[in-house]
């Protein structure tokens, strides 16, 4: 059974959720005891593989003890994010759903189309709708690929920033209900 589970994870480009695994395994006699095996995999991994909980599911990653040799293979690592890009991503991640003018308000400067494009190209942000205000500005949210890249189980896993909640609420109130 462990082998079948590993085969599923090894073949999948996305994290697999417990529900997905259940729909594949529950009515399959060959898969008896898959939940216990999943827990074992989560706890101890298998060889070079670790099973981690990310973006609402489970995904295999390579044990960090091999990071040195992997870095030698993946020399063309993506360039680190610029300060402006990282800040824009932070606003979207923490304040989502958020419009571009709101991002600009938070950062105090205009957000270039290039930055938004870069974040979209990486598959980290997307438009999830439009705010029903004049101009119907697009509402930006982060994607599950964002969660995967930053090893987050869910948005609730974002590091807590002290004082941010209050500031955010004030901002929100002030912006959304202009008196």
């Amino acid at each position: 059974m462990r082998e079948a589970l590993l085969a599923l994870f090894l073949s999948s480009a996305e994290p697999l959720s417990r529900e997905q695994l259940a729909s594949i395994c529950d009515d399959n006699p060959d898969c008896a005891g898959w939940e216990a095996e999943l827990d074992t995999l989560l706890a101890v991994g298998e060889g070079v593989l670790q099973l981690v909980c990310v973006a609402g599911g489970y995904r295999l990653q390579i044990h960090p003890r091999h990071n040195a040799i992997l870095a030698r293979l993946h020399v063309e690592a993506p360039r680190p994010l610029s300060k402006a890009t990282l800040e824009t991503l932070a606003v979207i991640a923490y304040q989502q759903p958020v419009t571009r003018p709101e991002i600009e308000h938070w950062r105090g400067v205009a957000v270039s189309a290039q930055i938004m494009q870069q974040l979209q190209d990486r598959g980290w942000i997307m438009v999830a709708g439009h705010r029903e205000t004049p101009g119907r500005p697009a509402l930006w949210v982060t994607t599950s690929q964002f969660l995967e890249h930053f090893s987050l189980v869910s948005l609730a896993g974002l590091p807590t920033i002290i004082g941010a909640a209050e500031a955010g609420c004030e901002e929100e109130k002030g912006r959304r209900d202009p008196s």
Partner: protein, 285 residues
Amino acid sequence: MRPWVWPMSGAVSEPSPSAPPMQVHGRRLEALPDGLFIPPGALELLLESFAGPLELLLWLIRRNRMDIRDIPVAEVTRQYLLYLHEARRRNLELAAEYLLMAAWLAEIKVRMLLPVPPAADDEDCDPRLELARRLEALATVQRQAAALHTLPQAGRDFWSVYPATHSALPLAPPLVTLADVVNAWQALLLRPARKPPLAHTLTNQHMGLRQRMMELLLHCRREPRPWSFIEILPPAVDRLTLAVSLLALLELLRQQALALIDDEEGGWRIAAVAVAEERRVIFDA
């Protein structure tokens, strides 16, 4: 004037949150020279590293260890303008927002000199409130960005397993019954009369495929040299003749009576295959 109280909890003092915010009152002059020192040539770099005037302002406030909730506006404005003057003196280009911010600071300074209406709430009256709010928002974003940066990132701190390939999987049979096929066929038959098949019948003798094949072959054999396609077309060629000629050429190529030759200029030419190798050409194709 009573000291203005920030309505939110939690101090904002970066980059070292552990250090207690220094009291600003009475220490302005002491903090100034340190805050204003710019190594020669570094101003341009410094200003470039800011995303805008708000960030420059936040940096000044932190550098002077001022309290974001109780900004000494006069002093901050003085320092801010010194940076702007210095930048202008060195002919650095500054975005218009920098000047806008200067104007805003000046406005706040003026309003703070005005007496507070006795009935008004202190919080609402402090002209620094909006500025403090925006600085607070930026400081929050900066802390959030820093927090994001510390998270483990794929391809930097860990590597995910790239999906391994697997052999071709059987396709799920589509939901289709024999009745569906039969019904589809019946529907096709019941359709209004179809147009005749899209086939051109070449009745005109000189348009005939066989005729063109013979003409082409003779033309190419008359002089054993590579011909361009244009050269082998009959004069005053129309669309149909062109199509038939192309078809004839293709058929002759297929039967290896003609051959294509690379003209070494990115194009090709047509030549008759030597008679010795000639195979019987079937004109009744």
